[in-house]
């Protein structure tokens, strides 16, 4: 007997069972063999024969082990096998099962190609949309800036009593650079526009002047050639320029031999020393080339009251926090304020913000909102799919029942069904990824030009991982609920013909709950979109202070060499103006140095003559050089006094116009006409101008801001020191009787006729500038509206599906009711009632969720509160209407049920 025990133990050894269990099995099997032997002996066999026969019961030597393993002892095995160096047995079995599951899933899919096709398509769209938005979020928000140690980089701005981030003057920047103790580097930059007159057609390029060491500070190396070096900043060096990658490709066909060539910019010869890498972006996004700032050699280096035009980026010293550096620089600011009480009176301190925040900050919220919205859409798609799958599950119940009766565990069946849905979602994910690549290109093409880091948006590993995770999640979500339901079979019910009892009701409840959640989700999206739409409409309704229709805007830049002084600049103006005025269809012509909503900032300090203002209280206003006819061209109203006219020449009294808000602020009860201002727009010091008129306010930076106070000066009275600024940057406005763009060719010809060297490269309508300022908002509104629309469709079809199958299931009930006297109207009410009950539940849930969620959107809204009752009510009504429609169609079908037919079916 002991040999049997040993033999049995030997065969069980490889299973590595837990010792008590093994002992039990050995005992049980040994007894069996003993009983067998006893019987054989009783039947007349010899001792030997009986023993041998009994042993033979154990079967061929590996059989016992194999059978035991297959019998589900793999769980014990698994604990050992995977913990230890992997005997492979447990894993092998799992792999086998997975392969089998997959094969089964593929055949199930092929048997129902319609469902599979719809599912894959819907998932592809949902996952693809999510991938597109996520790649935006990833490339723009999540990824570090393409600079060395970007967390140390900060945006430096001047801090004044009015909220906002203000630029610096040249002398201020030099002081901050030299006197700080917390920065390892600081770089300043300013707008610079250049007329390129060789290597092709004359072109007006937007560029930057940037201070020495900026590229080294950022840690950026040129892709071809070299970046600017500190050595380039010293005076007397030959003129050098670096180009952006985009410009190099666009204008010069990515010619590598361009490095070392000379370009003629603004009449001067510059040597191209390098091309920057494609991911690099300038702090001013439209800039395509950069030349050294050379602050120390600049003629305005010591003029403390010069224009504030420099912006700056800095790198913190290692170990210094942003707050410490801010305190350090603010201390410097305070010292400067004491030293230069007039010039620096408003400059209270310095603000440092993380560069990443500065670059992407405006878009952060919008992007996350979009991601949330598109995630909700995917959820809704999965819910719809789950509903569809639940409906299909009814058909497969017999299959499940038989398999359960034959021994399949519930877990096994659930795993099988989830594998099917994972297969579908996997395919959907792959398809979605392919769609996303095109989708990204499309979205970027439609997105506002101000979208930062658009060049860095791509499908990288993070995005790939996100897509895969999403596909996995989607498959589990839309597979699990139906799988759980389908395998919860009441065997007796299912194997009889009528499988509709308890199981059907439970399924219906599940589907109804799913639809309620879908409706809630779609309401949230609708409310979000509605709020954004209302904000956008409010914004559009704002009066910008001028009329933008039918105005052509031409941006010109006069080369410094040919137009070095005021006489030359005004001569150009005097020659061009009548040419343009005489063009057929032109009603009025005007010129301004900084167009509203163009993003160009220029402000000067001023004091009011005769007012006892404290000595260090300089006031600031936006500063514009304008020609006669400017106000008429933009239809900016004249509130008081007169506009500029031809008598306001260089020889006449210096005059000025002020904006209404400026007048109201400082002359509340009197008239400002005849008052004198001392404005500081030149090297020699503040000069006196007389206020001869008041004009309406104009929004300059953005539509939703407050209009800044403005001081307007006639261009013929431009101070010599400011001429270079006017010459390099002037906007010609033509109010036209016809469509403005029809005049762009004649206008261009007129300009070329006056001076061939002056390029008119930027010709747009004023409406385009207006639209561009609203572009980011419009983009958001568009996208979210599209999502909300899709959500509405999904919710509607989901509801339709449930009500429709409810009708199909209750045909008998409906037939009986009708036979018992119910009218068609009653049936209609019953069915629609069912649909509306679900809808009301969803709407209530959705309203609650929306109330909680919209507060995150607050900073995206304008003129509308996050809980705006009108929007909430309207969207609820829209949803109710759609739900009514979705319930009404199946209800009509229900009405047509013929009770006789139904009863006969019994």
């Amino acid at each position: 007997m002991t040999e049997w025990k040993d033999e049995i133990r030997r065969r069980l050894a490889k299973l590595e069972l837990e010792s008590t269990r093994e002992a039990e099995i050995v005992e049980e099997l040994t007894q069996h063999l003993q009983d067998r032997r006893a019987d054989l002996l009783a039947g007349g066999a010899t001792q030997e024969e009986a023993t041998r026969a009994a042993l033979a019961e154990l079967g061929e030597s590996e059989l016992l082990r194999r059978e035991l393993r297959r019998a589900g002892h793999s769980r014990q095995l698994a604990a050992v096998a995977w913990g230890a160096d992997g005997k492979g047995a447990g894993r092998g079995r799992l792999l086998n099962d997975v392969r089998q599951d997959l094969r089964y899933a593929v055949s199930a899919m092929l048997k129902q190609p319609a469902f599979a096709g719809i599912a894959v398509a819907a998932l592809a769209l949902g996952i693809g949309a999510n991938t597109v938005i996520f790649s935006l979020v990833n490339g723009i928000l999540l990824r570090q800036l393409p600079f060395q140690q970007p967390e140390q980089l900060v945006w430096v701005s001047s801090h004044r009593p009015e909220p906002g981030k203000y630029p610096f003057t040249l002398p201020d920047f030099i002081d901050y650079r030299d006197l700080n103790r917390s920065l390892s580097g600081i770089a300043a930059f300013a707008n610079w526009s250049a007329n390129l007159t060789d290597h092709g057609d004359p072109d007006r390029l937007q560029g930057l002047r940037i201070s020495a060491g900026a590229f080294q500070m950022l840690g950026v190396e040129a892709m071809v050639g070299r970046a600017l070096l500190p050595a380039d900043d010293t005076p007397g060096q030959q003129r050098v320029v670096v180009l952006s990658h985009g410009l190099w490709q666009r204008r010069f066909g990515a010619d590598p031999r361009l490095v070392g060539e000379k370009l003629t910019l603004n009449g001067d010869s510059y040597t191209v020393v390098g091309v920057l890498p494609p991911q690099f972006f300038f702090p001013i996004r439209e800039a395509e080339l950069a030349i050294p700032l050379a602050p120390d050699a600049d003629p305005w280096r010591d003029v403390r009251t010069s224009v504030n035009f420099l912006r700056a980026v800095a790198r913190l010293k290692p170990g210094i926090t942003r707050e410490q550096a801010e305190a350090d620089l603010t201390a410097v600011a305070r010292r400067l304020r004491q030293q230069y009480p007039v010039a620096n009176s408003q400059k209270l301190g310095v603000t440092l913000s993380p560069l990443h925040e500065e670059v992407v900050g405006n878009f952060r919220l919008a992007l996350w909102v979009l991601l949330g919205a598109v995630g909700m859409l995917l959820l809704m798609t999965c819910v719809n799919m789950a509903n569809l799958a639940l409906a299909r599950a009814a058909a497969r119940r017999r299959e499940m029942a038989i398999r359960t009766a034959l021994g399949a565990t519930r877990w096994r069946l659930v795993r099988q069904l989830v594998t099917e849905s994972l297969l579908l979602s996997g395919l959907g994910g792959v398809a979605g990824l392919l769609l996303a690549r095109n989708g990204i290109d499309l979205l970027l093409a439609l997105s506002p030009a101000s979208l930062p880091r658009a060049a860095e948006v791509s499908v990288d590993f993070h995005v790939l991982g996100f897509t895969m995770a999403l596909a996995l999640l989607a498959g589990v979500i839309f597979g699990l609920a139906p799988a759980w339901q389908a395998t919860r079979v009441s065997l007796n019910d299912e194997l009889k013909e009528r499988g509709r009892g308890a199981g059907g009701e439970r399924q219906n409840r599940a589907r109804s709950l799913l639809v309620v959640s879908e409706i809630a989700l779609s309401l949230v999206l609708l409310v979000g979109a509605g709020l954004l739409v209302r904000s956008f409409l409010r914004l559009q309704a704002i009066n910008p202070g001028f009329e933008a229709e039918n105005v052509l805007v031409i941006r010109l830049s006069l080369p410094k060499a040919q137009y070095p002084d005021r006489a030359a600049a005004t001569a150009f103006y005097d020659k061009l103006r009548p040419q343009l005025e005489n063009l057929p269809g032109v009603e009025s012509v005007g010129v301004v140095s900084a167009l509203p909503l163009s993003g160009i900032m220029a402000s000067i300090p001023f004091t009011i003559e005769g007012r006892a203002s404290a000595a260090d209280e300089a006031l600031w206003a936006d500063y514009r050089l304008v020609s006669t006819g400017y106000f008429r061209a933009l239809r900016i109203p004249l509130i008081a006094g007169r506009e500029f006219n031809e008598h306001d020449t260089a020889q006449g009294t210096s005059v000025a116009l002020i904006s209404q808000s400026l007048a109201r602020q400082y002359w509340t009860n009197a008239s400002p006409l005849g008052a004198h201002l001392r404005i500081d727009d030149n090297d020699q010091g503040p000069r006196l101008v007389e206020v001869v008129g008041v004009v309406g306010d104009v929004k300059h930076l953005s539509l939703d801001g407050e209009p800044a106070p403005h001081i307007y000066l006639p261009i013929h009275q431009t101070h010599e020191d400011a001429v270079v600024w006017l010459a390099s940057n002037q906007y010609w406005l033509l109010r036209t009787a016809v469509g403005p763009l029809t005049l762009s060719a004649p206008a261009r010809r007129a300009i070329q006729a006056v001076d061939r060297e002056v390029p008119a490269s930027s010709i747009r309508t004023m409406e385009q500038y207006l639209a561009a300022s609203a572009a980011p908002r419009r983009f958001n509104v568009w996208l979210l509206t599209v999502f909300a629309g899709a959500a509405l469709v999904l919710a509607g079809t989901g509801l339709y599906g449930v009500v429709s199958s409810g009708v199909a299931q209750r045909r008998r009930e409906i037939g009986i009711r009708m036979a018992l006297g119910a009218q068609a109207g009653d049936v209609l009410k019953m069915v629609i009632g069912q649909g509306m009950a679900m809808t009301l539940g969803g709407v209530a849930l959705g309203l609650g969720a929306a109330l909680g969620l919209t507060r995150w959107m607050r900073s995206l809204l304008f003129g509308v509160s996050a809980t705006d009752p009108l929007t909430f009510l309207l969207t609820a009504w829209v949803l109710l209407f759609v739900a009514l429609l979705a319930s009404w169609i199946p209800a009509r079908r229900a009405m047509r049920v013929d009770p006789m037919v139904v009863l006969r079916e019994e």
């Binding site: 099997l29 069996h32 009983d35 154990l58 035991l68």
Partner: protein
Amino acid sequence: MLDRELKKGSAELLILSLLEGRARHGYEVSKLIESRSGGTLKFNVASLYPLLYRLEERGWIVGRWVEKAGQRRRRYYKLTKEGRKVLPAQRSTWESFVAAINRVTKPETG
């Protein structure tokens, strides 16, 4: 997969049925199968016990060590409530399966 389950399924049906009346131990079951089938069906140790353990794990039968007076202790198996529920279903499935096979394999007339 169906194939394997079918073989499994019929064997399980056998065991479940035999345990319907009263609790039995493994050797008893194997003897009963052999005798009631007239020798056609034989289960050896390597096939029987893994099956019993599987049914036990699934919760359809439960095994207990019982020590009767004067005998060594033995492991007796009986049906659980779950097993009793499953048995008639298994039976009817098997019967309809067999009937279906018969219908298909009936010799064609004419």
